[in-house]
């Protein structure tokens, strides 16, 4: 039994991560599911759903389809939809039932691409992983499939791992672009808010550095590093002090060609920050203290004294052990904050969804 919760909700799932990462790029995402996974995504995980359109659909899997393993219906339906709507690419995502019946997404994507002539990518989600796993696979495959070699542009920084699941929707990416310019950089491709597939494809390989804004962007940034020699830096320029630290890390990465992980550098403090490892790590680096990451991460994003537990009981135990004076976390963590600790609430869309959306603000270069 992996995880049991008395009262805390759970984070957005892998399928939501795929859809969120690809939302603005003109592709079609077909979620192979009966109904619930996509309606959960559209309702709770996607703040753009009402105002902007994206070709994200379910296959409307039925009991009969599942019993018969009728993948042909799914392939045919996707091809018919693509003929109607002409997406730039097609992404197939999974859910629990297709996993149970062994749906071969790679074969289905290959067949769809053969029939339609539209690039098709299989995403191996089953709604059992976190949004970061889905986002990671989507951005990595997008990068591998579309990014083209390009002439280098000095001081240009890619933004990788930007989705509204982690970043406030309206102001954060523009604020990051503004911060980059004020620090002497130019913003390059952004994966994937406020950018286009064409711009990403043509410019991502030209950057001098990639700024990884969430764990979900790490794999794509690592690919660009391995393939095009573009080093990456992890961090979100939150707070008053950390943006300077991050800018220095970007310059160091550009000079040395080596990845930098300033979001994982810790200083002593009595604050615990709960959340996604790059954002929460950046907040912890700004405030002084430790991070508790209940999500996918890697050791390079985890600092000294940090914790990476994800069960509710473990989170309670770790917090009790850490004895923080302050806990910076989503408001719905209120149920596990130790007595006597101050809870500083910063809503995280991937956790509490729409509940506190009205309170979400850009944290870029602003005192916390």
């Amino acid at each position: 039994m992996r995880q049991r919760s008395m009262i805390l909700p759970c984070y957005a799932a892998d399928t939501a991560g795929v859809c969120s990462a690809l939302y603005e790029l003109g592709g079609m995402c077909a979620v192979h599911d009966a109904s619930g996974i996509n309606s959960t995504y559209a309702t709770h995980d996607e703040p753009r759903w009402y105002d902007s359109r994206s070709m994200i659909y379910i296959t409307a899997l039925t009991e009969t389809d599942a019993i018969l393993g009728d993948d042909e219906k799914m392939v045919d339906d996707v091809c018919r939809a693509a003929a109607d709507q002409h997406p730039a690419f097609i992404a197939l995502c999974g859910s629990p039932m297709p996993m149970m019946i062994g749906t071969d997404y790679d074969a289905a994507a290959e067949e769809i691409e053969r029939r339609t002539g539209i690039p098709a990518m299989a995403m191996h989600t089953n709604s059992m992983g976190s949004y970061l796993a889905g986002e990671s696979e989507a951005l990595l495959k997008l990068t591998k499939r579309f990014v083209q070699p390009a002439e280098k542009r000095q001081n240009t920084v890619n933004l990788i791992g930007a989705t509204p699941l982690d970043l406030e929707l309206r102001e954060t990416v523009p604020d990051i672009r503004g911060w980059l310019e004020s620090a002497g950089f130019r913003a390059g491709a952004c994966m994937a808010m406020g950018d286009t597939l064409t711009h990403i494809a043509e410019t991502a390989a030209a950057a001098s550095v990639s700024l990884v804004l969430s764990y979900g962007g790490l794999a794509a940034a690592a690919y660009l590093y391995e393939t095009y020699g573009i080093p990456y830096v992890t961090g979100v320029p939150v707070g008053a002090r950390f943006p300077d630290v991050l800018a220095a890390a970007l310059r160091r990465a550009a000079e040395t060609g080596e990845p930098q992980f300033p979001s994982a550098v810790r200083t002593a403090g009595d604050t615990v920050v709960i959340g996604e490892s790059v954002t929460a790590g950046s907040v912890a680096a700004e405030c002084g203290g430790r991070m508790l990451c209940p999500l996918d991460t890697v050791p390079a994003l985890v600092g000294t004294g940090d914790s990476t537990v994800f069960r509710e009981s473990e989170i309670r135990a770790v917090l009790a052990d850490m004895q923080p004076q302050r806990v910076i976390a989503d408001p719905l963590y209120r149920y596990v904050i130790p007595a006597g600790a101050e809870h500083i609430e910063i809503p995280h869309f991937a956790f509490s969804g729409r509940c506190f959306q009205h309170r979400m603000r850009s944290l870029i270069c602003k005192p916390l």
């Binding site: 992996r2 909700p9 799932a13 009966a34 009402y50 039925t62 629990p96 149970m100």
Partner: protein
């Protein structure tokens, strides 16, 4: 919209009542008023809901509860690939639920345990696990529930949950003067003549939506007659009545005055009471329609299936009253197939739109004539602020239902509403942290 094909619509005269549109990929419009299983389950007083499913499904149920400010009434256990591979899917039901209950400082009176499509396809013996829990916690009522949308064609989740919820009722001595209304998500308007009919016969009405305690909920079991009027409650009422040795009567929520009269005649026959004179209620409904028609005039009316359970019956009623019903959003005709046929023959220019076809994606952005919408999906797709904000009849029934609809249409005609805010809230009528 340039670059996209037109939204799918067909004239009603060309439609097959059993299904209007071909199946395919589906679009999910950002309209959230329909109740889901979490909302329905919360109707059982003093109960706790526990879900065992994949994270993607848990996310939806947990945040439904969070938006209702009711996270403390729901717990969950995430299913992983390991659970499927190592065979613990079944034992996790017993052990996981037991551990959650042991941690609770105050035990609930009842627990609704929801398993998923994965459990059903794995052949898990859910019943045996529930029996173990009953042995562990004899003071708690347990019921097996299902979040299995893959099965929606044979048993939609809300229909299934309705059937299971009333399985908590324990048999007790029957009261021939008690009637229960089953399957409603809100109380029937006290102004409805349904109450008048029951009062005239000295009948007590039980309804889960009125129960404040688990003991009150248990009183439903004393009923000699179980009524349903929404399709989602039909099977629950039928099976509960059968199990408890009572009668069941389904009185469809029609907008046809003659069918309404027939419903009350059947009800009074079943109860052995004299039907009171309802001519004043019928006249009031007809008068309300005339008043609304006089002011609304020729404005196009769009109706969607989520607003009322019989959209074609409502359309026929409105057409007969002189309204210009022009659009209906639905996939098929159900209880109101006769009204559908009448419209096909007499209003053949009405256009049917799919609620979910992918080519509805840009429907809300397309230019529309001014439309008075009935239902949230109609309001969204036709991009209008003039709409009747209601879901599943909104607690209105009978002649009063017609009168209320006419009054709501008049309000919608006169008043611009915040469509986005209203249709975004989950579970129409439920507490919502988004309401402020």
């Amino acid at each position: 919209m340039s670059g996209f094909v037109s939204p799918p619509c067909i004239p009603i005269a060309e439609a097959d009542a059993a299904g209007f549109f071909a199946s395919g990929l589906e679009y999910d419009a950002p309209v959230r008023g329909k109740w889901n299983i979490v909302h329905m389950g919360m109707l059982v007083p003093e109960c706790h809901q526990i879900y065992l499913c994949a994270q993607g499904c848990l996310r939806g149920v947990a945040l439904t509860a969070a938006e209702m400010n009711a996270l403390d009434r729901l717990s969950w256990i995430a299913i992983t690939e390991d659970d499927i591979i190592d065979g613990s899917l079944e034992s996790d039901i017993h052990e996981g639920v037991r551990d959650i209950l042991l941690e609770m400082p105050e035990k609930p009176r009842a627990v609704l345990i929801f398993v998923s499509c994965m459990h059903l396809f794995s052949g898990v013996d859910f019943g045996a696990m529930v029996e173990l829990l009953r042995a562990d916690f004899p003071e708690i009522g347990f019921i097996d529930c299902y979040m299995a949308p893959t099965m929606r064609k044979s048993l939609p989740p809300v229909v299934w949950l309705n059937m299971q919820m009333y399985g908590l009722l324990r048999a007790c001595p029957q009261n021939p003067h008690a009637v229960s209304l089953i399957g409603c998500d809100r109380a029937t308007d006290p102004a409805s003549e349904l109450h008048k009919v029951l009062r005239s016969g000295g009948i007590t009405l039980h309804d889960i939506t009125l129960c404040k305690t688990y003991d009150e909920f248990q009183q439903i079991a004393e009923s000699g007659l179980f009524l349903s009027y929404l399709p989602a409650g039909f099977r629950a009422a039928e099976e509960t009545a059968k199990r408890l040795g009572a009668k069941h009567l389904h009185l469809p929520a029609s907008f046809d005055a003659e069918e309404i009269a027939e419903n009350y005649r059947r009800l009074c026959d079943a109860l052995g009471i004299v039907c009171p004179d309802l001519s004043a209620e019928r006249s009031a409904a007809e008068s309300a329609l005339r008043t609304a028609r006089a002011e609304i005039g020729e404005m196009a009316v769009a109706i969607d299936y989520s607003a009322v359970t019989q959209p074609f019956s409502l359309a026929k009623c409105l057409c007969e009253a002189g309204f210009r019903v022009k659009y209906i959003i639905a996939d098929a005709a159900g209880e109101d197939a006769d009204a559908f046929r009448w419209l096909s023959e007499n209003r053949s220019d009405i256009l049917l739109y799919s609620p979910t076809n992918i080519n509805m994606l840009h429907m809300a952005d397309a230019p529309h004539e001014p439309v008075l919408a009935i239902g949230q999906k109609a309001a969204y797709y036709f991009s209008t602020a003039h709409f009747v904000n209601t879901v599943s009849n909104g607690g209105h029934y009978g002649y009063e239902g017609i009168r209320a609809m006419a009054e709501q249409m008049l309000f919608a005609y006169r008043t611009e509403q915040d469509t986005r805010r209203l249709v975004s809230q989950k579970g129409f009528g439920c507490e919502s942290c988004l309401a402020g």
